[in-house]
């Protein structure tokens, strides 16, 4: 398992662009918003929690189709399927690798961008915390979507259509936690519910992911 994780991380870093691409995309989306809505600081600080979460979600989406596509094309996914490691574990490892390369950097970049959007100072802790809790769930859900569309020639667009509705509960809870933090309210409830979604996804979705992979490898 460790070997697979290290292999995926190395591939992501060395394949060029994979590691920083999601981060750069996150940066650009957030920077584009003020151009769209105007430089009004009050307005920006109101919408900042939502913008940061939506941008994080899109950045996580961007690299999803890489999770299985390359392994599927060169046949290493077939080898992984016949290896003693169950496909359920493989999918968890893939999701973990995706999270380390995309979700984790986002958690640390988000406060800097929150600064650009005049995010209320009280909200930074909640922003980092909610992203840390929520993004593993995003990676797991995305891995499931990637497994569904891995056999398709042009699955990228379809993948976003399938995955984005599944992201709705995570987005609601995540952005709500940050908004409550910004308003100085207690944000424990949305954070705990966010944890429920993430942990539930990690508990259930590996089985669905592995089932989809088996169908696609048939």
């Amino acid at each position: 398992m460790k070997a697979l994780l290290l292999r995926d991380l190395r591939l992501a870093i060395r394949a060029g662009g994979g590691f920083g691409l999601g981060l750069a995309f996150f940066l650009i989306v957030v920077v584009l918003v003020p151009f769209g809505v105007g430089p009004n600081a009050d307005l920006l600080s109101i919408i900042a929690p939502g913008i940061l979460w939506v941008a994080a979600l899109l950045a996580a989406l961007l690299s999803l189709d890489r999770i299985f596509a390359l392994d599927f094309e060169d046949g290493s996914l077939g080898l992984l399927a016949t290896s003693p490691l169950p496909l359920e574990s493989v999918s968890v490892i893939k999701a973990l690798a995706h999270w380390i390369t995309t979700g984790l950097p986002l958690c640390f970049a988000a406060p800097v961008l929150g600064f650009l959007l005049h995010l209320s100072p009280d909200a930074y802790a909640y922003l980092i915390l909610s992203l840390l809790i929520g993004t593993p769930g995003l990676s797991m859900i995305g891995t499931f979507g990637a497994a569904l569309t891995v056999g398709l020639r042009r699955g990228g667009l379809l993948l976003s259509l399938l995955v984005l509705p599944l992201y709705v509960p995570t987005l609601i809870m995540g952005a709500d936690a940050v908004r409550r933090g910004a308003d100085g309210m207690a944000a424990t409830t949305p954070l705990m519910l966010l944890g429920v979604i993430t942990l539930g996804s990690i508990a259930v979705l590996p089985f669905a992911t592995a089932a989809a992979l088996r169908v696609n490898l048939r």
């Binding site: 569904l148 379809l158 509705p165 709705v168 669905a208």
Partner: protein
């Protein structure tokens, strides 16, 4: 003799052929009786006027929009467990009907909301849940049409339907958490004391039965079409090989 024998495509075609006209006929009967009764022979509401009558389209369509997904879920489970092809095809056939019902519910709700709430759209939990349900239908249908091999498509869409159901329910409760509601609560239930008045209630139940039968008729018809298309494909394949 077990229930599952009717899942054989040949048997399915045999028993649906005589049943279908009856289902379609009673759907037409229920809908015309319910709608004419509802539209012309019920009093206007003292506050909403005649706009209240949109309930005869809105409520049954919303009911069927949810139940269509439920039926797809059951059919997907049957396909995954017992691998009856008719079941997978029935799930495929139900999706476009379900999405149409969702759209009818959203559109009639918007038309009613405009004079009564003063807005076509509000980010209310119920409205939002329906919009998300619409997106789920869209993704499901897109996945069906994207995959060429029918068995692979049936497997993957069934998995998506299972996972989607979980997340659809999650989204519903998340949306409730996220925004306060504008939509009224249920006014038609078996276990509550206060229900909508009888004059509105009776035609509504008839239109609900009518929509249910209409859904059944459309799904049977579309499943029969899917089976015939499958047969044509098989015949073509055989002709090419010969």
């Amino acid at each position: 003799m077990s229930l599952w024998e009717y899942a054989n495509p040949k048997k399915f075609m045999d028993w649906t052929a005589p049943v279908l006209p009856w289902v379609a006929g009673s759907a037409a009967l229920c809908l015309s009786v319910g709608l004419i009764w509802g539209f012309f022979f019920t009093p206007d509401d003292f506050r909403q006027g005649s706009t209240v009558k949109i309930i005869y389209l809105h409520v049954p369509a919303a009911l069927m929009a949810i139940n269509a997904w439920l039926m797809m879920l059951v059919a997907s489970l049957i396909w995954l467990v017992r691998r009856h092809h008719v079941s997978a095809l029935a799930a495929k056939a139900a999706a476009p009907v379900g999405i149409t019902m969702t759209l009818i519910a959203l559109a009639t709700g918007a038309l009613w909301g405009s004079p009564i709430w003063g807005t076509y759209w509000e980010w209310d939990p119920r409205l939002t849940s329906f919009l998300i349900l619409f997106l789920f239908y869209l993704g499901y249908m897109a996945l069906w049409s994207a995959i060429e091999d029918p068995d692979t498509a049936a497997d993957l869409t069934s998995i998506l339907c299972l996972v989607g159901s979980i997340f659809a329910i999650l989204s519903r409760y998340a949306a409730q958490f996220w925004s306060q509601g504008l939509h009224q609560g249920a006014s038609l239930s078996l276990d509550k004391e206060k229900n909508v008045s009888d004059v509105f209630w009776q035609p509504l139940v008839i239109t609900m039965i009518g929509f249910g039968l209409l859904f059944l008729a459309l799904v049977l018809l579309r499943t029969r079409t899917e089976i015939r298309m499958r047969r044509i494909k098989a015949l073509h394949a055989r002709a090419r090989r010969a």
